[in-house]
């Protein structure tokens, strides 16, 4: 008989992968590689990339960086900074992971840029020295990222700055965000846009991966209100960066409406776990209510109340529909619920399509919809007119943008406060285990209905504004694909989170607008994107803590802690 002593060998890793060995052997060279690559990228920004001055902006000139030359320099700068940091090995950063992101990003960026130049100018002969220098730089940074060693983050050593400094960090960050957004949206050329996107994405991943992100989160956590305020201030200031142009504002308003609706859906899907495939119908309900009660000469109802009343009506009607659709959930669950909601969504669209007087009462003008909905007018502030504030003209869509900003603030408030309350806990409990929730005294039926009603009300509210903003309402705006897009926004961004849904909605609405060169292929790419996302990051871009744990069993530290305790108890 033998007794083995059991030691919790949690850190013992007998299977070191080849990559780990590589890192051990060559890790020391990473800082140098990064520095060299970074400097090359910086230099490349000063060089000419192309003989042709019509490609990707104008990048044929030396010592006067523009467009993608600047992006290359930004990437180079980040690589240099991370390289220096890697050498110093601060405990509160993990520059290795950051370098990996910058490496990948630079490589993709340079390759996209060079291929574009070659393709548009007709051959790689048109690439100037800058492009090649950048390619070498990117390869070096990539190699650096590949071999750089990773460190464990030690969050406790984060330097705690004085309050004003932390606020300054937030303000600077937000200013950068504002500038970048304005700049990004100002781009017209699809491929420059792609290059910028790659740059931004890799810089963002680098910052998050190397621990800056967590640091910002930490600072933000210390100053929650400031962060929120700053975020809204940035959003508020955005129209002022547009110099009177309404083109981007038009897209921005659509993003906001889409995001507000998606947040409503997030209550139903993300919190209560009820899969709704017909959600666009609630936005449609709101829009139709808004249209029918508007001043439009096509409106089918004589009553024309002030807009505040219309908003309330939109919410009320939508949430009533929500209750009607929600009530079968008492009996139907899981995948069956999905098809019921899908059915209701189709019924809504078909009903709007048909209620034109020939098939049923005349409510919606059928497929023609209700056009010519006039602009809103709040106490003399005509949303259709250009108003000049601080010397900057703000057009029609800017006006709606401000209104929608209020709307989304309201939606976020409702979402996050409900999430963190008795109601929210009830929803999550239902999502986790409906029967157990019921047995614990959670009013399952009531809460499910509430989720549908509140989600629908928020979408309905957004709809009433959408009707005026779009100036017309037609049934073909509310097809199943739109519901799928909403669901995709929620899932791509990250279920159950606010930030995720905002990101998801922005991506889904912005990309097709900016990638007009690939317009015909945008749905194809969208389909592919969905498949790839689900394969590699099913929890979405911004995962809520809870969801992340659900998708990837990463809770190692805690579990080990628990197991060790358990082991001790058993002894």
């Amino acid at each position: 008989m033998s007794t083995n002593t059991a030691l919790p060998d949690v850190l013992d890793d007998s299977d070191v992968s080849r990559r780990d060995r590589l890192r051990e052997q060559h890790g020391a060279k990473a800082p140098l590689l990064a520095l060299a690559g970074g400097v090359l990228l910086l230099v490349s920004g000063l060089l000419s990339w192309s003989y042709d001055d019509r490609i990707l902006g104008d990048i044929s000139i030396r010592f006067y960086p523009a467009g993608i030359q600047i992006y290359a320099m930004v990437l180079g700068l980040v690589a240099v900074v991370l390289g220096v940091l890697l050498r110093r090995r601060p405990g509160w950063l993990n520059p290795g992971r950051g370098l990996a992101a910058v490496g990948w990003g630079s490589l993709v960026f340079v390759v996209v840029a060079l291929v574009t130049i070659a393709r548009q100018a007709g051959g790689s002969i048109n690439i100037n020295e800058g492009g090649w220098v950048a390619l070498v730089g990117a390869l070096l940074v990539f190699a650096a990222g590949f071999v750089a060693q990773r460190f464990e983050l030690n969050v406790r050593t984060w330097p705690r700055l004085p309050g004003w400094a932390e606020i300054l960090v937030i303000v600077v960050l937000m200013a950068v965000l504002l500038f970048t957004t304005a700049y990004t949206l100002g781009l017209d050329d699809s491929w420059t846009f792609v290059c910028l996107l790659v740059t931004l994405l890799s810089v963002a991943i680098a910052l998050v991966g190397s621990g800056f992100g967590e640091y910002v989160g930490f600072v933000g956590g210390n100053n929650r209100r400031v962060l929120l305020l700053a975020a809204f201030l940035v959003a508020f200031l955005f129209p002022f960066t547009q110099d009177g142009s309404d083109a981007n504002m038009s897209i921005a308003t659509q993003i906001l409406i889409f995001a507000a609706t998606a947040l409503g859906l997030n209550i139903v899907v993300g919190l209560a776990g009820l899969l709704d495939l017909g959600y666009i119908a609630f936005l449609g309900t709101g829009a139709y209510v808004g249209a029918m009660l508007s001043q439009s000469t096509f409106a089918t109802i004589g009553w024309k109340p002030p807009f505040l009343v219309v908003m309330l009506c939109g919410m009320a009607v939508a949430s009533t529909f929500g209750l009607i659709i929600g009530s079968p959930t008492l009996r139907v669950s899981g995948d069956y619920l999905a098809i019921v909601t899908l059915g209701f969504g189709e019924i809504f669209r078909l009903a709007m399509f048909n209620l034109d007087g020939t098939n049923g009462p005349d409510l919606t003008n059928g497929p023609n919809g209700i056009p010519a909905i006039p602009d809103l007018n709040f106490f003399g502030w005509d949303f259709g007119k250009v108003h000049t504030v601080a010397g900057i003209p703000l057009g029609r869509f800017s006006n709606y943008y401000f209104l929608l900003l209020l709307l989304i603030a309201f939606v976020i408030l409702v979402f996050s406060r409900l999430n963190d309350s008795r109601i929210g806990r009830g929803w999550v409990a239902i999502r986790e285990d409906e029967r157990a929730a019921e047995a614990m005294g959670v009013n399952v039926f009531g809460l499910k209905l509430l989720a549908f009603a509140i989600g629908a009300a928020l979408a309905g509210l957004a709809g009433t504004i959408k009707a005026h903003q779009d100036t017309s309402v037609t049934p073909d705006q509310y097809i199943f694909l739109e519901s799928a897009f909403l669901l995709a926004a929620v899932v791509l961004g990250g279920m159950g989170t606010v930030a995720g849904v905002l990101v998801g909605a922005t991506i889904l609405k912005l990309l097709p607008e900016k990638l007009r060169d690939a317009a015909d292929y945008r749905l194809l790419l969208f389909g592919l994107l969905l498949v790839i996302m689900m394969r590699f990051r099913p929890e979405g871009l911004v995962a809520s803590k809870r969801r992340q744990l659900e998708f990837h069993e990463d809770d190692e530290e805690l579990v080990q802690l628990a197991q060790t305790e358990h082991l001790e108890e058993a002894k």
Partner: protein, 318 residues
């Protein structure tokens, strides 16, 4: 008389739904996956048949002639090959890695695949040399015996394509019945649907059985694709969406996971639609409301019988 006529119409429509619905139900029964992209498998089947006709019967097609009857089995083979290939690829590349993912992930993937396949056919089909542009409807060739003038026994109009569709359903259903209940693989399928892990312990290759399920679904969908092509004399890249949606509805109506439920659900749905067009009086009748009635029936059935007409207990994986 009109009732009988509309019943015939409903039966035709229903048989088509049923053929597609079986694919949803078989796959769901095994891995509880709503394969939203199954409608596209049906569409690919139709295009597979069209491609076969273009490749092997080019001269007939170009001159607008009717294909000989013996072309039918060749077209069926072509359609099945295309559908099965896409279905198996889809399972292998997109679904298999998600086998243990939460429910929403495969659903979103399925929507993604659905959009992708539609767009791929729309954009790329015409780029294949010799094939027509598929951005709009493409005429489907006619085949002797199963295309042509309708039969009119007792004043009824029965299209030849109707006979093909209903006949295909009967043959496929009988074959499926024999396969599931009499063969070893069929029994293994039942085992996998009840408990995949334990089925593995019995020596059943679960991955293979799942592929078999996709193959069965794709085969029936491909035949449905031909039936649709014969009935409406054209195919288009969007045809899978609505048909798929209806077939999925039919599968749920019958009780998803149950093969006979899918057949029953499909027939019910088809007949409800036809009767709604023909017999609901007043302004809420006619073809513009038929889909509303179809969905309304579905919701009613689910509210009073949540597991569908023939379904077993609801599997709730929410």
């Amino acid at each position: 008389m009109e009732l009988a006529q509309q019943l015939v119409n409903g039966l035709t429509l229903g048989s088509l739904y049923a053929l597609i619905a079986v694919g949803y139900t078989v796959v769901y029964g095994i891995i509880q996956l709503i394969n939203f992209a199954h409608g596209e498998i049906f569409m690919v089947g139709a295009f597979g048949a069209l491609s076969t006709a273009l490749l092997f019967f080019r001269s007939y097609v170009d001159e607008g002639q009717v294909l000989p009857f013996w072309a039918l089995p060749v077209l069926i083979l072509g359609a099945v090959a295309a559908s099965v290939a896409i279905a198996v690829l889809m399972e292998r590349i997109a679904y298999r890695p998600l086998r243990n993912a939460p429910r929403l992930a495969p659903l979103i993937t399925a929507i993604g695949i659905s959009v992708f396949l539609q767009e791929a056919v729309r954009l790329l089909y015409g780029k294949i040399p010799g094939f027509p542009d598929a951005k709009q409807k493409v005429p489907f060739p006619k085949i002797a015996v199963v295309s042509g003038d309708a039969w009119t026994p007792f004043g009824l109009t029965i299209q030849r394509s109707t006979i093909f569709t209903v006949g295909a359903l009967v043959i496929c259903a009988a074959g499926l019945f024999y396969f599931v209940s009499r063969t070893k693989t069929g029994r293994a399928m039942q085992a996998v649907s009840q408990d995949p892990d334990t089925a593995r312990l019995m020596g059943i290759n679960v991955d293979r059985i799942i592929v078999v399920a996709f193959v069965i679904g794709a085969t029936l969908a491909a035949i449905a694709g031909i039936a649709q092509g014969l009935q409406v004399t054209n195919v288009n890249f969007k045809m899978g969406f609505l048909a798929g949606l209806k077939a999925f509805t039919a599968a749920v109506l019958g009780g998803i996971g149950n093969v006979w439920g899918a057949v029953l659900g499909g027939l019910t749905l088809g007949i409800v639609e036809a009767l709604a067009i023909g017999f609901i009086p007043g302004t809420f009748g006619g073809s513009s409301w038929k889909d509303v009635w179809a969905f309304a029936i579905l919701i009613l059935v689910l509210v009073f019988r949540p597991q569908g007409l023939l379904g077993a207990k609801v599997v709730d994986r929410a």
